[in-house]
Structure formats: structure tokens, C-alpha cells
């Protein structure tokens, strides 16, 4: 089996049958998104690492009972979602939020990637947890809104609403820092 093109489901089943290499491919493919999904919701990094390790531990233990009825990412992120929900989520503004808010940035600085990232994280930190989770899942995975609804155990409409409000809140927050989206060249004056 060509691991690079194999689906997540086939890799998981291969691992369940004893193919360790398939698990290594699967892990390499999803470790970063899953890590960010947990870390960006849990402000405590040590706790986030524990939860991340626990998440993969549960995935490994459940390998023998895994069936390819559901998409692997739906199944794995559902495990991660349950872990995050079960643990304390300390909603804490980023330490450098004050610095960002108080400092005046030149236009050049505003376009600095590092600054932009910090500002985005700051704004994400202000989102309600359910909106933040939905936004991260939408960004980190290729799951449809319906699949995200399965992961977070909410309705499709609820997930749509959460995502819409998350984006709206992020835009408002970024606008305070002077960060706006560039108007599209195809607009016919709607942005005027």
C-alpha cells in the first residue's frame, strides 16, 4: 500500500492489523492540525500538551475497534472535542494583548506577519469557546459543516451560526487594530 496516497481510513485499519508504519504516516499527516486545535483552545500549554497526548492515546487504544463507517478526521476530532470539553478551559486573554492594544503600529508593522498572528490570536482568545472551536475546526480540517456538527455534537444550523459569529467577531476585533480586509477589485461599489 502506498502510504502517501492512502486514505486516513485505510491507514487506520492497516495500523489496527499491526502495520506501525501506517500509523506513523497518519500521525505525521494530522499531528499539527490536531495540536493547534487543542492548543488554541487551552491557554495553559502544559495542560494542552497533556490533552494532546491523551487524545492520541485514545485514538491508539480505539484502533482495534475502529470501523471506516465514519471519516477518520470526524472520529479523531470528536475524541479531541470530548477531551477539551471535559477539562477546564481557562479563558485568558493573551499576555501581550495590552501591548498590542496600546502600541501604535506603523503601516509597515501592521503587515508584519508576526504582529498579525499575535493580533489574530488575541482576537481568537476573546471568542466564546464554542465559536472558537468551530472556527478552528473549519480552519484546520477539511470537514464540512455537517461533519463539524457531528464532532461537536451540535446541529448543522448551530454550527453555521457559530462560524458566522466567530468570523464577524474576529473582523470587528481586528478592525480595532486597524486591520481590515482589502477590498476586492471586482466589487461594484458596494464597499464605498
Amino acid at each position: 500500500m502506498d502510504s502517501s496516497t492512502a486514505t486516513d481510513e485505510s491507514l487506520m485499519l492497516a495500523y489496527a492489523n499491526g502495520d506501525i508504519a501506517s500509523f506513523e504516516v497518519l500521525y505525521d499527516r494530522h499531528k499539527a492540525p490536531l495540536y493547534r486545535y487543542i492548543v488554541r483552545q487551552i491557554s495553559d500549554q502544559e495542560l494542552a500538551h497533556d490533552l494532546y497526548q491523551e487524545c492520541w492515546s485514545r485514538i491508539i487504544k480505539s484502533a482495534f475497534s475502529y470501523s471506516d463507517d465514519a471519516k477518520w478526521t470526524t472520529w479523531a476530532y470528536h475524541i479531541a472535542h470530548n477531551l477539551v470539553v471535559d477539562h477546564y478551559r481557562s479563558f485568558k486573554a493573551l499576555d501581550d494583548a495590552v501591548d498590542i492594544a496600546s502600541s501604535v503600529h506603523s503601516p509597515e508593522q501592521l503587515h508584519d506577519q508576526q504582529v498579525l498572528s499575535k493580533q489574530l490570536k488575541h482576537c481568537m482568545g476573546k471568542l466564546p469557546s464554542v465559536q472558537l472551536e468551530t472556527f478552528i475546526l473549519n480552519q484546520e480540517t477539511d470537514l464540512t459543516l455537517k461533519m463539524i456538527a457531528d464532532v461537536v455534537e451540535a446541529s448543522h444550523e448551530a454550527v453555521k451560526t457559530r462560524l458566522r459569529y466567530a468570523r464577524s467577531a474576529l473582523q470587528e476585533c481586528l478592525a480595532k487594530f486597524g486591520i481590515h480586509s482589502k477590498p476586492s477589485s471586482t466589487d461594484s461599489g458596494e464597499n464605498a
Partner: protein, 232 residues
């Protein structure tokens, strides 16, 4: 493209550019080793698996052994039951092959005659526990009837009449007598001994008198003589 879509794209783009976090190498190592360990069965698990198979095999062997044992015992009991009645039949006196018929005819005779026998003599039939005692009592009854027959015969000869001739009775008693006459003397002595052992001296004496009439020249054991003599 509307404003909202451009804003969404902007935020998505912003996010993707900022999404640089990756798990530390130490965490990667720990998780991958966990994945390898999960597929290595522990020696304990191997042993448990072997024990499980062994237990199942032991249960099967035991079940089969118990099944055959039960079957063997059942066969043995059936054979014993089959043998025992035969043995009983063999042990019964050969000179009285029609003993059941005789018993029935004795009962019929008594009922037809309406003989009011002594309760002490009738009741022993029900009270006697051993087969020997029952047989002795029946022999006694037959003996009584044999005496009766001889008396009747004498009366006939003296032309008294056939009042007491319950026609079937004499023939039945004659039928009964035939086997009595054929009874071996030693078996009669055994019955006498059995009666003496059970304390029924009177019946033993009656049977002894009959024995003497039939086998006057037969040697009687001293023990019986003494016991009969003590009872007098």
C-alpha cells in the same frame, strides 16, 4: 464577490499564515512509542491467552469424562436391576413353581369358604416381613387345607355328605398339595428355622408336626428339636 466573502477569505488567509504551531519532538516520540507498544502483546496477555485455551480444553475433557461415567453407571444400574429379579426367581424353591397360583387359590378358597380363621393366623400374613416367614405361613395354610381335605375324604367315605365340598377347593388344595408333597424336607426345615428365629414358635411347631408326618424318617437337626421342645 461580496464583502463578506472577501472578509472571510482575509481571515482565513490570516489564520493559515499564523498556523505555525507543531507539537514538540518529545511528544511525537512518546506518542509513536505508545503506538508501537499497543501492538506488542505483553507476556501476561500471552499467558492468559494460553490459559484460556487450556481451560476450555480441560472443561471439554471433563465434560466428556463425566458423560461417559454417568453413562457407565446408568448401564450398570440397569444391568443390576435386570439381574436381581432373575436371582430372586432362582432363589425361590424349585418345588413350588406355581406358588403364585397356589397363593391365589388359597385366598380364593378362604373367601369362597367364608372360613373364619383365627385372626392371629390371618394377620401374620400381613405382618410377616421376610419372604421365608410368608412362605412358612402359606405352607401352614396349605397344611391346614391338606388336613381338611383328608378329613373331608374321611367324611365322604363315611357318607356324611358334600356340604363342605366347595368343589374348586379340594381340587385347588390337591393342586396345592402336589407341590407341598414335592417340597424338599430341607427347605421345610429352613422355614421352621426362620419361624423360630423370628420368635413364632407356635407356627414353627405346627410346621414341624407336618414335617414329621411327611418325612418321619428324616433327620431333624438337634437345634430345632430343642427349640421346639422349649416352646412346649
Amino acid at each position: 464577490m461580496n464583502h463578506h466573502d472577501s472578509d472571510d477569505d482575509f481571515i482565513d488567509g490570516l489564520y493559515q499564515q499564523s498556523a505555525k504551531e507543531t507539537p514538540p519532538a518529545q511528544l511525537d516520540k512518546q506518542i509513536l512509542s505508545l503506538a508501537k507498544l499497543a501492538h506488542q502483546p505483553s507476556p501476561f496477555a500471552k499467558m492468559m491467552r494460553f490459559q484460556r485455551v487450556l481451560s476450555v480444553a480441560a472443561v471439554m475433557v471433563l465434560s466428556i469424562a463425566i458423560f461417559f461415567e454417568v453413562d457407565k453407571n446408568a448401564t450398570r444400574y440397569i444391568e443390576q436391576d435386570a439381574v436381581t429379579p432373575q436371582q430372586n426367581r432362582l432363589q425361590s424353591p424349585p418345588s413350588a413353581p406355581a406358588s403364585d397360583q397356589i397363593d391365589q387359590s388359597v385366598e380364593m378358597h378362604e373367601s369362597s369358604q367364608g372360613i373364619e380363621q383365627d385372626s392371629a393366623e390371618q394377620n401374620p400374613t400381613k405382618q410377616l416381613k421376610s419372604k421365608a416367614m410368608k412362605k412358612a405361613f402359606k405352607e401352614q395354610q396349605r397344611g391346614f387345607m391338606a388336613d381338611e381335605i383328608s378329613e373331608l375324604a374321611a367324611e365322604e367315605q363315611s357318607a356324611v355328605g358334600a356340604a363342605s365340598r366347595s368343589a374348586s377347593a379340594p381340587s385347588d388344595s390337591l393342586k396345592m398339595e402336589a407341590p407341598n408333597q414335592d417340597q424338599k424336607p430341607d427347605l421345610m426345615l429352613q422355614d421352621i428355622e426362620a419361624l423360630l428365629a423370628s420368635g413364632q414358635v407356635e407356627e414353627a411347631r405346627i410346621l414341624f408336626e407336618q414335617f414329621k408326618q411327611r418325612y418321619p424318617k428324616y433327620a431333624v437337626p438337634e437345634l430345632i428339636r430343642e427349640q421346639i421342645g422349649k416352646g412346649e
